[in-house]
C-alpha cells in the first residue's frame, strides 16, 4: 500500500471519506439528472434516457468484467436478446409492459447462465473471443429467424404503459428509466458489498486462491454471467420501448466494444465509473455532432487522450486527484495487468 506521506489514518476513517466522496458525486449527479428534463429540450431528454440504458448495461458488464474479472464482448447479444424478447412479447403476444420487461430480463439471465457454462474453462482473450463469437452468432440469428424477428426489416415496439398510464413522451420515459437506474444502482451497491461481490473480487484476483477459500468457482462465475445478462437484458428491453423500433444492424460487435469501452474509460470495478463512462460515451458524440465528418476522428483522439492521461479510467483519476490534492480517501490501488 502506498501512503505517499501524510498522516496515517485509521482504516475505518479512509473507507468513510473515500466512500462519502463517491456518494457525494453520485448524489450531485442524481439531483442534476432529476431536474434536467424540466429545463432541457426534447432531444436532450431523449439522450438522457439513452444514457440511463447505457448505465444499466455498464453496471451489468462491470459486475462481470470489473468485479469478477471475466471479459465479455457478448453484451451486445444480451442487449439484443432483451430488446427482441420484449418486442416480441409486447407486439405479437400483447403482454403488459411491466411483465414484458421482467420476463425479458430473466430470459436474458437464463441465456447468460447458459453461455456462462461453456465459458467456465475460458479466460482472458479466449473468453473475449468466444463471447465475441456469441455476439456475431446472435446478430445473424436475428436476421435468419425472420418469422419471429422480421429479419432485416426490423421490429416496431408498441408504447409502454403501466395501469393505463402511457409512457408516450420522452419526458415520461426519461423518469421511468431514471427510476429503474436508481433502483438498480442501489441493488448493485448492495450486491458488490455482500458475499457475492466479495466472491467475484476473489475470483478476479486469483481463481486458485478463491477456490481454496471456499468460493465455488463454477457457481459464482455462472452467477456473474447470469446477473450481468439480467442487467443487460433489462436495459435492452427498456431501450426497445424507449426507441420504439429495433434494427438488427445496431446489435453488432461494435456495440459490444462500445460497452467494454464504457467500463474501462469509466473505471473497472467502480459504480461511479459505470455512470461516468456511460456519460462519456453517450454525451461526447452529441457534443461533437457539429463536427460532421470529423466527429469520429476527434472522438477517437479524445478517447486515446483520456486513456493516456487516465489509465485507470475516469473514476480512478477522480479518486487519485481527490487524494493528492484534497487528501480525501486513499491513493487507489488497482491491480496491474488485469485480464491476463
Amino acid at each position: 500500500m502506498n501512503w505517499r506521506g501524510g498522516p496515517l489514518r485509521g482504516q475505518r476513517d479512509w473507507l468513510k471519506t473515500g466512500a462519502s466522496l463517491q456518494a457525494l458525486l453520485l448524489v450531485v449527479t442524481g439531483v442534476a439528472l432529476l431536474v434536467l428534463p424540466n429545463v432541457a429540450d426534447n432531444y436532450v431528454i431523449y439522450i438522457g434516457a439513452r444514457l440511463f440504458v447505457y448505465i444499466l448495461v455498464a453496471l451489468g458488464l462491470n459486475l462481470l468484467t470489473g468485479y469478477a474479472g471475466q471479459v465479455s464482448l457478448g453484451h451486445a447479444a444480451f442487449f439484443a436478446i432483451g430488446a427482441y424478447t420484449a418486442a416480441v412479447l409486447a407486439e405479437s403476444l400483447h403482454w403488459p409492459f411491466v411483465i414484458c420487461v421482467i420476463v425479458s430480463a430473466f430470459f436474458t439471465a437464463i441465456v447468460g447462465y447458459l453461455l456462462g457454462l461453456p465459458c467456465l474453462r475460458l479466460s482472458g482473450l479466449y473468453l473475449a473471443m468466444a463471447t465475441l463469437g456469441f455476439t456475431l452468432i446472435v446478430q445473424e440469428m436475428l436476421l435468419q429467424l425472420s418469422v419471429i424477428t422480421h429479419g432485416s426489416e426490423g421490429m416496431l415496439v408498441p408504447t409502454a404503459s403501466i395501469l393505463g398510464f402511457t409512457f408516450d413522451s420522452d419526458y415520461r420515459k426519461y423518469y421511468l428509466l431514471f427510476g429503474v437506474t436508481i433502483v438498480m444502482l442501489i441493488l448493485t451497491r448492495n450486491l458488490v458489498r455482500g458475499r457475492t461481490g466479495r466472491a467475484f473480487l476473489a475470483i478476479r484476483e486469483n481463481e486458485r486462491a478463491a477456490e481454496a477459500m471456499g468460493v465455488n468457482l463454477a457457481q459464482y462465475k455462472t452467477i456473474a454471467f447470469a446477473i450481468s445478462a439480467l442487467y443487460t437484458g433489462l436495459a435492452g428491453a427498456l431501450s426497445a420501448f424507449l426507441v420504439g423500433f429495433l434494427d438488427p444492424q445496431e446489435f453488432s460487435f461494435f456495440l459490444s466494444i462500445q460497452f467494454i469501452t464504457i467500463i474501462i474509460l469509466g473505471g473497472l470495478a467502480s459504480l461511479l465509473g459505470s455512470v461516468l463512462g456511460a456519460g462519456f460515451l453517450i454525451i461526447l458524440p452529441e457534443l461533437l455532432a457539429g463536427l460532421d465528418v470529423w466527429q469520429a476522428l476527434v472522438y477517437g483522439v479524445i478517447m486515446v487522450l483520456t486513456i493516456l492521461f487516465m489509465p485507470f479510467g475516469l473514476s480512478g483519476a477522480i479518486r487519485r486527484y481527490a487524494y493528492r490534492w484534497l487528501g480525501i480517501g486513499v491513493e487507489p490501488i488497482i491491480p496491474r495487468r488485469l485480464g491476463h
Binding site: L125, Y126, G133, L136, Q144, I264, A296, M303, I307, F312
Partner: protein, 291 residues
C-alpha cells in the same frame, strides 16, 4: 463435387493465408510486449489505401508500391507504439487495448474523410482468370497470395531463427528483464516488433484488398484474424498461421454449403466448439497461475 470442393479449399487457403499474416501480427506484438493490438486490422486497411494512392495517383510501378507500402505501414506501427502504447505500458492491459481501439477509430475515420466510403478497386499483378489443372480450378491470384504469404512466413522464420536481432526479439519475448540484462535494448525491440507486425499487416492489405474490397471498413478483417489466432492458440506463432489458414478454408467451404449469412458465423460456432474442448486453442499453452 470433389472438384468444386478442391477449388473452394484453394481459394479459402488464399484468404486464410492473409488471415494468418494478420494473426501473425497480433501474436508477434503480444509475445514481445504483452499487448493486444486491436488496431492490427487497421494496418491492413491503411496499407490498402496507401498502395491505391501510390499506384493510381502517382502511377508508380507495382513492385515499388509493394515495398513502399510495407515500409510506410511499418512506420505507422512504430508511430502508434511510440505515441499511444508506450506512454501507458505500465497501465492495466485493458486500458492499452482500449487505447488501440481508439487509435483504430481514428485511422478508420481518417481513411473515410480522405477516400470516402465507396468501394475502390485496387489493381493487382496477378490475373483473376481461372486456370484448370487436373481437378483443381484456381486463379493465379490465389496462388500468388498463397506464395507471397509463404515466402513472408519463411523469411520471418529465418529472421527469428538465425539473425542476432531475431534472437534478441525471442529473448525479449521470454523475459524482458533477462533480455535487458543481456544488453538487449528492450525499447528498440518493442519498436521493431511493432514495425514488423504493421509491415506484415501492410503486405496482407496489398494482397487481400484486390480480392475482397477496399473501403475504410476493411479493418474488420482484424476480427477474423484474431479469431484465427485464438483458434490456433494465442501466443503461438505456428498456431496463428495454421489457425488463420484453417479459418479461411472453413469459411469458404461453409459458404459452399450454406447461405452467405451462415457462412459468416459458422466459423465462430466452430471456434466456440473448439474452445470448449481445448480452452487454449489448438496449440496454445495452458497458463498456470501461482497462488
Amino acid at each position: 463435387m470433389i472438384e468444386i470442393l478442391a477449388s473452394q479449399v484453394v481459394s479459402g487457403l488464399a484468404t486464410g493465408c492473409v488471415y494468418a499474416l494478420v494473426a501473425l501480427g497480433f501474436v508477434l506484438i503480444y509475445k514481445a510486449t504483452d499487448v493486444v493490438n486491436f488496431a492490427q486490422g487497421e494496418f491492413v486497411m491503411a496499407s490498402g489505401f496507401i498502395s491505391y494512392t501510390l499506384l493510381i495517383r502517382y502511377g508508380l510501378p507495382y513492385w515499388l508500391v509493394f515495398c513502399l507500402t510495407i515500409l510506410l505501414s511499418g512506420v505507422m506501427g512504430v508511430v502508434l507504439e511510440r505515441v499511444v502504447v508506450r506512454p501507458i505500458m505500465s497501465a492495466p492491459i485493458f486500458s492499452i487495448v482500449i487505447a488501440t481501439i481508439g487509435a483504430s477509430t481514428v485511422m478508420r475515420s481518417a481513411a473515410g474523410i480522405i477516400y470516402g466510403y465507396d468501394v475502390l478497386p485496387l489493381p493487382t499483378i496477378f490475373s483473376k482468370e481461372p486456370i484448370q489443372l487436373g481437378i483443381l480450378n484456381f486463379t493465379p491470384m490465389d496462388v500468388g497470395v498463397i506464395g507471397c504469404s509463404i515466402v513472408i512466413m519463411l523469411a520471418l522464420y529465418l529472421f527469428f531463427k538465425w539473425t542476432k536481432t531475431g534472437m534478441a526479439m525471442r529473448a525479449t519475448a521470454q523475459s524482458q528483464t533477462a533480455a535487458q540484462l543481456m544488453g538487449v535494448s528492450v525499447k528498440q525491440i518493442f519498436s521493431l516488433t511493432w514495425a514488423i507486425s504493421a509491415g506484415i499487416g501492410g503486405i496482407a492489405g496489398v494482397l487481400i484488398a484486390p480480392i475482397i474490397y477496399l473501403d475504410p471498413n476493411l479493418g474488420t478483417i482484424g476480427v477474423k484474424a484474431f479469431a484465427g489466432a485464438i483458434l490456433g492458440g494465442f501466443g503461438s506463432i505456428p498456431g496463428a498461421i495454421i489457425g488463420g489458414m484453417l479459418l479461411g478454408v472453413l469459411e469458404n467451404l461453409s459458404g459452399y454449403f450454406f447461405n452467405a449469412g451462415i457462412k459468416q458465423v459458422s466459423t465462430y460456432i466452430l471456434l466456440i466448439l473448439v474452445l470448449i474442448i481445448r480452452p487454449s486453442g489448438l496449440f496454445g499453452a495452458v497458463a498456470m497461475k501461482k497462488v
